[in-house]
């Protein structure tokens, strides 16, 4: 699974990354986790509000810091 966290390094983006890593850990999933901070790349995905979460190159959420529970629910769908 490929996971991307899009955000320019503000507190919210770091929190989303933390929550994501925790969720993956608790679900025992091995995934490539990337934190994309380059604006050009973020915009290239069509994202306009950060932080954003992508799973396998699909944008799952934008502009929200998902909780660990939210992330786990989304992954298990």
């Amino acid at each position: 699974m490929n996971v991307k966290i899009l955000g320019s390094g503000c507190a919210k983006c770091n929190q989303l990354e933390k929550n994501t890593l925790t969720a993956l850990n608790e679900m025992n999933i091995k995934a490539d986790v990337e934190h994309v901070t380059d604006f050009a790349k973020i915009a290239a995905y069509g994202v306009m509000s950060t932080p954003a979460l992508m799973l396998d190159d699909k944008v799952i959420s934008m502009g929200r810091v998902l909780t660990v529970e939210d992330i786990k629910n989304i992954i298990s769908k």
């Binding site: 604006f39 915009a43 995905y45 509000s49 950060t50 934008m62």
Partner: protein, 334 residues
């Protein structure tokens, strides 16, 4: 109708009853609220509690509404309009689209890559921090509904004029090249159920309170000092109606500052009670929210210095003019 509005303003928004309760409580524990310490403490506790309550309720309602207007949707809507209509709609949407300054660059890129004219983007960028549903209610709580509505209209006009000026000056070449080279991508909006929206709204309340409670405490602290410690004569001298430069001073002091609008409210309240004019106070609040060092630093990454400077100058002059305007017409509003 008037009595209803007044009640709404005095007891629901200003929570004057809360001030009375805090005062009585302080008196009970032996503090004289007519003296500076008791008075300052009364102001401090009343204002902190009031703002936190208003904050939570307002942010919840507003976030719920804003969940219908993600920037991606705004971008698509704006693509359908041209000219000044597009800028007006952009300014209006700026007030309901959730916007954090760390998103300013992705947003700028998104709008530009979608082919939206530079003026439309700037109308959005000006109105977004300046006018929002939350500040409307808060202003009403201090200065009344008439002032709040005029503020919103004036803020929108500034956003449209600012965007128009930047458009007419043909400053597109001053957008950083990498922004112009990004292809437009339209994402489908994530579908949200009512439950999702309520979750989102609750989350925004938690996040926002956590993010700004410090600004509120500091703002109320400063407000309490202005209210009870700094002599009225000094404030009058610097910001009062006999100082023709009061608006300019208030604006220039506010520009580099970064504070949430909720943090400026107690300062505004305190200044108002010390006889500072309406326009001077509004200029201060507008300068603090519309422009700040952090947001300018962020914007610099997407636009070149010349455009950034012109943007700051246009907004500053606009705020100063609005300030003098409100001072002149204050007698009609408060």
């Amino acid at each position: 109708m008037n009595t209803v509005l007044l009640f709404l303003q005095d007891q629901i928004l200003s929570m004057k009853w809360l001030n009375v309760i805090v005062g009585k409580f302080l008196n009970l524990i032996g503090l004289d609220t007519t003296l500076w310490l008791g008075g300052a403490l009364q102001f401090f506790f009343y204002d902190v509690i009031k703002i936190l309550i208003l904050l939570s309720v307002l942010i919840f309602i507003i976030s719920y509404i804003q969940s219908y207007f993600p920037p991606e949707r705004t971008k698509k809507i704006l693509g359908k309009y041209n000219g000044i209509t597009a800028r007006i709609i952009s300014a209006l949407l700026g007030t309901v689209t959730p916007f954090c300054s760390c998103s300013s660059i992705p947003l700028f890129i998104g709008f530009t890559s979608a082919g939206l004219p530079i003026g439309v983007t700037f109308s959005f960028l000006i109105s977004s921090p300046l006018v929002d549903l939350g500040s409307l209610i808060l202003l009403a709580s201090i200065f009344g509904f008439k002032t709040a509505i005029v503020y919103v209209i004036v803020g929108l006009v500034l956003a449209v004029i600012g965007g128009t000026l930047i458009e007419k000056l043909h400053l597109e070449n001053y957008i950083e090249d990498f922004v112009k080279n990004i292809a437009n991508v339209d994402i489908e909006n994530t579908v949200m159920t009512k439950h999702d929206r309520i979750d989102y709204a609750k989350e925004q309340v938690k996040l926002t309170v956590h993010k700004i409670y410090l600004y509120v405490l500091i703002g109320v602290g400063i407000g309490a000092i202005i209210h009870n410690v700094i002599p009225q004569e000094f404030i009058q001298m610097v910001l009062g109606e006999n100082n023709p430069f009061s608006v300019i001073i208030a604006t220039l002091v506010g520009i580099p500052m970064y504070a949430d609008i909720f943090g400026t409210i107690p300062i505004a309240e305190a200044l108002f009670s010390k006889g500072v004019e309406l326009g001077t106070i509004l200029s201060f609040m507008m300068a603090v929210t519309a422009l700040s060092l952090p947001s300018m630093i962020m914007l610099r990454r997407a636009i070149k210095p010349k455009l950034l400077t012109i943007f700051v100058i246009i907004v500053t002059i606009g705020i100063i003019l609005i300030g003098y305007g409100f001072n002149a017409f204050q007698y009609l509003l408060v």
